[in-house]
Symmetry: C2
Subunit: 131 residues, 2 copies
Amino acid sequence: MEGLHILAEFGQCAAVEAMASTRALEVLCVSACREAGLTVVGQLFHAFGLPAAPAGATGAVILAESHLTVHTWPEQGAVTLDLYVCNFSRDNRDAAEMAYARLLEAFRPVDVHRRDIWRTYPGLGPHPEKV
Amino acid sequence: MEGLHILAEFGQCAAVEAMASTRALEVLCVSACREAGLTVVGQLFHAFGLPAAPAGATGAVILAESHLTVHTWPEQGAVTLDLYVCNFSRDNRDAAEMAYARLLEAFRPVDVHRRDIWRTYPGLGPHPEKV
């Protein structure tokens, strides 16, 4: 269950449609994962606000490798995302980087704040080299 | 979009059913959020392995306040969870603590590794006091 968890906050995003349209957000998130070689086993997206006054969306893509979750605030031009990939049967860090790059490219933020968290089994300690 | 993101890894969990049964996991996660006063707007749970040989589950609970995601490895007695609550209209940190405590009590881990991440809008910097 060792794995990489990328937490990112994006500000001043140029991609209004991907933030305001739940369908566009879903297509983006699922395709970003699939194109990176991650295995999508389900997805759930929820729109906030009314159709005439969208107030962002939250989406979760369940992966065999763990998950991607995204929250959008189109009125603030902001997105937060989490991409967590475990290295259970192979090293998925390159796939995570590829999916993250696709999302970054799609949202086109001016401000990017990314933190990488290495998650591991309690008691084992961090093993960033273990795959 | 400021908010608290709790990342936790649990080891040597005693609660086998909650880890191996996707339905039990879903009931636990949804009720932990609801009982804490968080607003569940959807959930998606996926079982790995075969019914005769369950290999854990992944679940996502979409909240109006953000999300809860849980991954279980019953064969290792391990769970990772993420509980992310934004303070958009009110301070949800107490609700997050209540839901986390309910999950901790349910999984009964021997080893607990918890990290709290304060997430905020890029450019604003951290505002742990802002609600």
